[in-house]
Symmetry: C2
Subunit: 342 residues, 2 copies
DNA sequence: CTGTTAGCGCCTTCAG
DNA sequence: CTGAAGGCGCTAACAG
């Protein structure tokens, strides 16, 4: 009892504390804090703001979320750290969120276990909306989440809209164009280094399918030894390429499903004494900034100007809408970006 | 009115809905949901769980947080995406959180603006605890956050404990050892490529200071042209190295403050027709897995076995403790890891 | 212009 | 073993 009075408060200040200190009611504090102070006198407002500062008051987000039935937070669900494309997404989403007074939380989901984890948090209402990027494949039923009143935008090519918006990238077409270029230039042994999940997906992987179809278009048979994993990281790209170059009939072109690994691949090719692109052409995916700086500059496939502001806008439109808009679908512009490595 | 009855419920189910469907009281539902079901009959429990499944019920985290005055969530505040060391931290923190039934949110803070953003969320009680990694420098007063009843562990060398635990890495000593090795081997023009913030920090940057002190120990003067930015990304590492190699008197060794940039540096050196390590030695920092795979393998400085489980444990000890433990300080083992590039 | 007050959904004594 | 009730901190009617 006595402790209460003597000790500094161990619990964070509430509206009531602020109200008491400023000599006003809790409603007034709430109005001031929320910017609804058209009805509040200037002097009163100042007293409240001073009390807020003195006490270090910040409104409790649980209480506010409970009352308003919105958290004013959005969630970015991404598949992994380490890909610079995502940095742009982070930036664009933060920018859009700031405009609307929202906070951004990030959930890293690179396995079904993390997806379950994320699903639980999202269903518990940790945020009002979410953008899924490079992570949708780990989730079971995204539609169920959307039905739980979560505004959602999913960047993925193989998911079907179901109460949420879908953003697609025409990977298949752009990769096909790039591969045609390679094959038209006379390359005859083109290898494919995919992500592990490209190989698991098989026919449902746009990149792998684009590769197979391009070979077929040019009358070339598939050689199983030229298809494998290696796009998931720089290390794997280096290793897989080294192995490929040790083959009795090594490839004369490499289609690598990520720029990061493609850059390692260039390095690996050169470490076996060959030249890029003279001996071996290398083609990446993603249009990483780094690719345009290295020598030879990396030919790639992706957005010319990496920009996710449209994705962010979709989410905040959804959040602002009184009635949820129907499931929309947009397509980001992808193209073949030829440089020096092919 | 009629709509209410006809339309599927637009709002998420609550304990009351579950209780009504299962034919029990809300208290019973709460007991079952929270595993306090020693007092509940097995059949009753089954009915409740069935209702939970049918309705797709998940307890509202705002309401629960308000009532329990804890969110059972922790926050990872990291400085950027893209560094694989952080992947290990993410993994280790998730593992520890799962054990204790906590959720993990990630906040990306690579600027003071993002720090303000994060501070607001944290002060609003979005999580019970937080680990700061590679981000502390963007914050003004971490002590104030800790006083706001947030359990905190800060991984940073220049912050002083103030109601939170601090984890340090003996960078200065380990870098010094590595540089001594370089200089003892006869290198005379050693360049330093730092992060932008190393250069801003000046004397307070362990890596830059280690560099300057090592030169001094070996009786070498400082050459301003050999010190610059370039560690922040692969691209910058490549560019900065290329510039350095174009100098009238190019360096014979490069100390690069990140492994990622150091790897680019090796490449850039070779692209100017020189050999690593014969012409130019390259030393990185961080012990990135990739560094041990490339040829020549990258000499570096860091944790031999990258492991942050102790960091995570610190946080969860703090959360479990009734009374906050005093500010603790631990030191992670860092060492010089010589390989082929020096 | 400011104060009073009724919940938001949940957990947890306290009775029964 | 189960039900009723209070209150966590906040916002938004509604009074005054």
């Amino acid at each position: 009892m006595l402790k209460r009075i003597i000790m500094p408060k161990k619990t964070r200040p509430t509206v009531r504390d602020v109200a008491a200190l400023a000599g006003v009611s809790v409603a007034t504090v709430s109005y001031v804090v929320n910017g609804r102070d058209d009805r509040i006198g200037a002097d009163t407002r100042e007293r409240v703001l001073a009390a807020v500062r003195d006490l270090g008051y910040a409104p409790n987000s649980s209480a506010r979320g409970l009352r308003k039935r919105r958290t004013e937070r959005v969630c970015l669900v991404i598949g992994s750290l380490g890909s610079p494309v995502q940095e742009q997404l982070v930036r664009d989403l933060h920018a859009a969120a700031d405009d609307d007074g929202y906070g951004v939380l990030t959930l890293i989901v690179d396995s079904p276990a993390h997806a379950a984890h994320a699903t639980r948090l999202l269903r518990q209402g940790v945020a009002d909306g979410a953008v899924f990027f490079d992570s949708a494949r780990h989730f079971g039923d995204l539609g169920e989440l959307a039905r739980g009143r979560l505004a959602m935008v999913v960047v993925d090519n193989s998911v079907t809209p179901d109460g949420f918006d879908v953003v697609r990238t025409p990977e298949y077409e752009a990769c096909g164009e790039a591969l045609d270029h390679l094959l038209a230039a006379g390359r005859r042994r083109v290898a494919f280094l995919g992500h592990r999940h490209d190989l698991e997906l098989g026919d449902r992987s746009a990149r792998l399918t684009a590769y197979r179809d391009a070979l077929r278009r040019h009358g070339l048979g598939a050689d199983g030894r030229l298809v494998g994993a290696g796009a998931d990281s720089r290390v794997e790209g280096y290793r897989a390429t080294t192995a490929l170059m040790g083959l009795p009939e090594p490839p004369d072109a490499l289609f690598v499903a990520s720029d990061r690994a493609a850059i390692s691949a260039i390095w690996a090719v050169r470490d076996t004494g060959r030249t890029v692109p003279a001996d071996v052409a290398v083609l990446g995916v993603g249009n990483l900034a780094e690719g345009s700086v290295i020598r030879p500059a990396l030919s790639t496939v992706g957005q010319r100007q990496v920009d996710f502001s449209r994705v962010a806008r979709l989410l905040f439109e959804r959040l602002a809408a009184a009635d949820p808009p129907g499931s929309r679908e947009i397509v980001l512009p992808w193209s073949f970006i030829p440089r020096e490595s092919t």
